[in-house]
């Protein structure tokens, strides 16, 4: 098994190490949840030991008190500066799930001009659902809502709603239209992940959009030796993300391009 896959699986277990929670239908309430994990992992997953950065960010701009999220934003900048989108490629359980679904034999829709345009959607979704809508609701009636978690996040539905609702009859009694919408969205994400490589990460995830900004600045990640590069473009051709060049905003640093570079111009940055 590839080193990256092992790290992805280990990360999923480390993020979700409260295994008894999956049997009891209860979530972890220990102090480790003061810290955000770098990847998208719902804090209401019964196994979750840390906090989801997107959920935490929204908790500051929703509810009845609006506060600037110094701590969470600081952590998000720090994760970006250290790892960039390595987080997506190596340390995100929801990315792993999508990659495994893509392994199911089926006709595949490869990257094209439309998918490239769709990559900008995640910036709009991030701005609208993580910042603007929560604050707009707060301004409108004094109570902000975590709009991304509430209306979109399929990771929350899969990792939290499905196990908790299966195990907890009290929660089942509260299900309604909203859950129906989120469940359909999750099913759609799962289904489309069989045909399209990591569609949620490429088109929807605000965390991927955020970390993409740091890809060129991050301490770790992929780099190109311009002297050795012959511009053969093998790296871009093999890439399943919508990269236009190595280590651009769409690069999740999976390292597939390293294998096809004829001059070994691509490498992981060394400290």
């Amino acid at each position: 098994m590839a080193k990256r896959r092992i790290i992805q699986i280990l990360t999923a277990f480390i993020y979700n190490g409260n295994l008894p929670g999956f049997i009891q239908g209860r979530i972890w309430q220990g102090s480790s949840k003061q810290l955000c994990v770098p990847g998208l992992n719902c804090y209401s997953c019964p196994g979750a030991l840390g906090a989801c950065p997107i959920g935490s960010l929204q908790s500051f701009v929703s509810g009845t008190v609006l506060r600037f999220p110094f701590y969470v934003l600081g952590l998000l900048i720090l994760f970006g500066l250290i790892l960039g989108r390595i987080v997506c490629g190596w340390f995100c359980p929801f990315g792993l799930i999508q990659e495994l679904l893509y392994k199911i034999p089926s006709p595949k829709i490869h990257k094209n001009a439309l998918t490239l345009k769709l990559t900008y959607l995640k910036y709009l979704i991030g701005l609208a659902f993580v910042i603007i809508i929560p604050i707009a609701f707060f301004a409108w009636d004094g109570v902000g809502i975590p709009a991304f978690c509430k209306f979109i996040c399929p990771a929350g539905t899969l990792e939290a709603a499905v196990p908790l609702i299966t195990l907890n009859s009290d929660l089942r009694s509260g299900l309604g239209l909203l859950f129906g919408w989120k469940f359909l969205l999750m099913l759609f994400t799962i289904l489309i992940s069989i045909f399209i490589y990591r569609p949620f990460c490429r088109f929807i995830c605000p965390l991927g959009a955020w970390y993409g900004i740091y890809n060129k600045l991050s301490l770790f990640g992929i780099q190109v030796d311009k002297v050795k590069c012959t511009s053969c473009n093998n790296c871009v051709k093999i890439c399943k993300m919508d990269c236009q060049e190595v280590a651009d905003r769409e690069c999740i640093n999976c390292g597939e391009c390293l294998k096809v570079c004829p001059t070994k111009a691509i490498s992981f940055k060394q400290l």
Partner: protein, 40 residues
């Protein structure tokens, strides 16, 4: 640019810890998020 971002990151984290923001994160993360599971 990069230096400033490092400074901002550490300043934000330190100021957030000073304000006990981590307790707000814990408070949110330690109870079932009804919005996340599609109830709230």
């Amino acid at each position: 640019m990069k230096k400033y971002l490092w400074f901002i990151a550490f300043f934000f984290i330190a100021f957030g810890i000073y304000q006990k923001d981590y307790l707000a994160v814990l408070q949110k993360a330690a109870i079932i998020c009804l919005e996340c599971i599609g109830i709230g």
